[in-house]
């Protein structure tokens, strides 16, 4: 097993997630694509942690923090989506351009 395998897997996942973030119309799916990107980051961190045999396990610990923060982010994100849906009865992100100049 080489470290490069894992990093490239992480990069691939990150790219796929990025494609999803830009392409998807439904707000919930955009959040799901963000999750994919975060999963890629996690893989990267843990792989490096194991490769370097870090005494402080910094990579794994940071991954745990990322998981916690991602959970918080999804919670807030969905709360926001819910509020938007309440107002507009539509979860299409194309409609959300009220912040234009």
């Amino acid at each position: 097993m080489t470290i490069a395998q894992f990093v490239i897997l992480g990069t691939a996942l990150f790219s796929i997630g990025l494609y999803g973030v830009i392409t998807r119309r439904n707000a919930v799916l955009v959040l799901a694509s963000v999750e994919v990107m975060l999963a890629a980051v996690n893989i990267n961190l843990v792989a490096f942690d194991v490769y370097l045999a870090d005494q402080l396990y910094a990579g794994q610990i940071f991954t745990l923090f990322i998981i916690a923060v991602a959970a918080a982010e999804v919670g807030i994100g969905l709360a926001i989506v819910l509020m938007i849906f309440r107002n507009r009865h539509d979860a299409d992100v194309d409609e959300l351009d009220l912040m234009r100049y």
């Binding site: 830009i22 955009v30 351009d97 009220l98 912040m99 234009r100």
Partner: protein, 696 residues
């Protein structure tokens, strides 16, 4: 995946000590490691564990709706089992392969597979009988709305059974034990639209669970005494005859608890109550699980640790054997009697199965290793044959009740012929399979009696009476079903070939399997089974005891003749047949000795009532109270945070807003409002930076 760097045992040279003539002696053979055939034997277990998932996900799209995967699996197992059997016959194999997958303290948890005489016999049985049953089931289950799921669960059962019989240690055996219990529950309740079938499944599972508690206790005692869960380690302590080992102190209790666990799975009295109700499941399930394989798991367990029980010096589990023998004897006779009053043909066969399991258990208790397992082997063939034949009849007349049958001999000739062969094998008529196996058990019991055991004589008498009982109820079943006039309302005709061909195949085995172990003439089966790493002592007849043969044959002849006189249609009227009754006995039998009522009122009702209410009270007041309390605390925190937000945070924001407003009017042109575009632009920038970093 190939198991890497697995080494096998060195061939063990065992000595043979003959005592001549009748009596027990050690049967031992020089064993080898079985080569590549044994190394790859893990496929036998792995394939039926993986295939059910394939059936569930892809079955509906296949031309035969997943049946081909299931039957192919059983065919593979049957072929591999046969290959192993032939290899073992040519050169005995006794080896095991294990992988350590974890540790608890100093106990190693291992997963592996055993390849020796006993396991090979079971692989062969599961595969061959299973294959016949699966082929038959394609015809029997035709049109069923859960056809695909049925075969997935059935294949999973086969996988669980193989996990059980390939287990090199108690942990894996228990895993397989529970898997077959789960599969049994799922398959008994296959027709769950009728709630009674669900109840039957629950009853099977619960009864087994009670016995399993004893199994777990026995396993724990055994493991703590020996320091390991592995059978090899256990039997090493027994072989070394180490009287100072903890196993000698606690061996009696370990052996007793393990036997109680075996009693549950093998439906011995008083744990027999679930097996007749299990007939609610489809007939192929009854044939494979509740006749040939799952119920034999208890007998298999006794066989697997047999030296522990045989124990001539009485250091370990030897004293449990008397209990085993007596329970087996009670079961075989009193459960056989219950078949007298059944009108449902499957229930007759169910009680017959319990009774035959009693024979096997009694044999193991008497110390007759080969006799008991040989009866397991032959019984698998003729009992599954009988069940499949009964299923063929049920399929044709759309009823289980024998009063809706009659006169089917002419209309279903193949079913009739194979059913008769199965019956003759079961009652033990020479030269069919049951003759050789059952008479060997009776001869072994006789030997135990002669050596001065009162219990041995008692069980011997029960076993001889059992032959009469078996002949009587089977004769009744055959005469009521196949002779006379057809009394039902359907149009019975012979079953399709996919159902009759397996009947014929199994009939061949039922007729000929007995020839594998003829004492005094040729006993290849004994030497196949003796291929184990530990020399197996065995109470073993050296030649046929013609006196006993005459006695048993006389008993079965009396049984058949009596059944003929009472039930044969041309001799008596229908009314006389229905009215046949033995005064005190029959009402007791109809109520199944009141055992089911005892369990219901004594155990089930008190649990469902008072115990459930008490648990509900705890849940509502204690658990919910804690949750509500946490809610109150959270609200208090929320109030505090709101105060902080209103006072502190807002001030910072007002200042920042002014600064942002100025720069904002310039930058706002980038903002189309679409978040995704922003993300795209950001990452485009990232890529640009990355390229720049790389170049410079």
């Amino acid at each position: 995946m190939v198991p890497a760097s697995v080494s096998t045992l060195l061939p063990i040279l065992a000595f043979v000590a003959e005592e001549g003539g009748e009596g027990g002696h050690e049967v031992a053979v020089q064993v080898g490691n079985g080569g590549a055939l044994a190394q790859w034997a893990w496929l036998i277990v792995a394939v039926p564990l993986v295939v059910p998932f394939l059936i569930v996900f892809f079955g509906k799209k296949l031309p035969f709706k997943g049946w081909e995967l299931a039957a192919g699996t059983m065919g593979f197992i049957g072929a591999y089992g046969t290959a192993l059997l032939l290899a073992n016959a040519a050169s005995p194999i006794a080896t095991e392969f294990t992988l350590e997958v974890g540790r608890i303290g100093s106990f190693a948890i291992e997963w592996g597979w055993v390849v020796d005489g006993l396991s090979i016999m079971m692989y062969f049985l599961v595969g061959v009988v299973g294959f016949f049953v699966f082929v038959y089931a394609k015809g029997y289950m035709e049109g069923d709305i859960r056809f695909t799921w049925f075969f997935a669960a059935f294949t999973l059962f086969a996988g669980g059974m193989l996990v059980l019989v390939s287990a090199p240690n108690l942990i894996q055996l228990i895993v397989g034990w529970e898997m077959v219990g789960l599969a049994s529950y799922l398959l008994i309740g296959h027709y769950w639209e009728d709630y009674a079938n669900v109840d039957a499944g629950n009853k099977a599972f619960m009864t087994n669970k009670v016995a399993d508690a004893a199994l777990f206790i026995g396993a724990i005692i055994m493991a703590l005494s020996v320091g390991s869960f592995s059978f090899a380690d256990m039997l090493a302590v027994v072989t070394a005859q180490d009287a100072s080992s903890p196993l000698a102190t606690f061996g009696f209790w370990a052996g007793l608890m393990l036997f109680i666990g075996a009693m549950g799975k093998s439906a011995q009295f008083p744990f027999h109550v679930w097996l007749p109700d299990a007939m609610a499941g489809p007939t192929p399930v009854s044939a494979l699980m509740h006749a040939a394989t799952m119920v034999t798991a208890g007998v298999y367990l006794l066989g697997r640790i047999f030296p522990f029980y045989l124990d001539p010096a009485g250091l370990f589990g030897g004293q449990v054997r008397v209990i085993i023998m007596i329970i087996g004897g009670i079961t075989l006779l009193f459960m056989g009697l219950l078949a007298f009053v059944q009108n449902d043909i499957k229930k007759v066969l169910a009680y017959s199965t319990v009774s035959q399991l009693g024979y096997m258990v009694a044999a193991m208790g008497a110390g007759a290793y080969t006799a008991g397992l040989f009866h397991l082997f032959t019984h698998a063939f003729f009992k599954s044959l009988l069940f499949l034949g009964a299923g063929s009849v049920i399929h044709a007349v759309h009823s289980n009740d024998m009063s809706d049958m009659g006169g089917l001999r002419k209309r279903m000739p193949y079913t009739y012929a194979t059913f008769v062969i199965g019956t003759l094998a079961l009652i033990g008529l020479f030269p069919f399979a049951g003759f050789w196996s059952k008479d060997e058990i009776i001869a072994s019991l006789y030997e135990v009696g002669i050596e001065g055991s009162g219990a041995g004589w008692f069980v011997f008498a029960l076993a001889v009476a059992g032959s009469f009982v078996t002949a009587f109820y089977m004769g009744r079943a055959v005469f009521l079903t196949f002779f006379g006039e057809y009394k039902g309302h359907a149009q019975p005709h012979e079953s399709p070939r996919v159902m009759t061909y397996p009947l014929i195949g199994l009939a061949g085995f039922a007729a000929l399997a007995g020839l594998l172990n003829m004492p005094g003439i040729a006993t290849p089966f004994t030497s196949w089974l003796a291929a184990r790493r530990v020399p197996m002592g065995d109470v073993h007849a050296q030649s046929i005891n013609w006196g006993l043969v005459g006695l048993v044959t006389a008993m079965l002849a009396v049984g058949v003749v009596l059944a003929y006189r009472i039930f044969f249609p041309d001799r008596v009227t229908q009314a006389e047949r229905d009215r046949f009754e033995i005064p005190v006995l029959y009402p007791l039998l109809r109520h199944k000795y009141y055992i089911d009522d005892l369990y219901m009122d004594g155990i089930v009702r008190p649990t469902m009532g008072p115990l459930a209410s008490a648990v509900l009270w705890v849940d509502m007041w204690v658990v919910d109270g804690i949750v509500n309390g946490a809610g109150v605390v959270a609200r208090g925190l929320a109030t505090a945070v709101r105060w902080f937000d209103n006072r502190g945070v807002d001030g910072i924001f007002n200042g920042a807003a002014a600064a942002t407003g100025g720069s904002g009017s310039v930058l706002r042109l980038f903002f189309t409002g679409k978040v995704q575009q922003y993300a795209a632009l950001s990452f485009a920038g990232v890529v640009l930076l990355a390229v720049l970093f790389i170049i410079f």
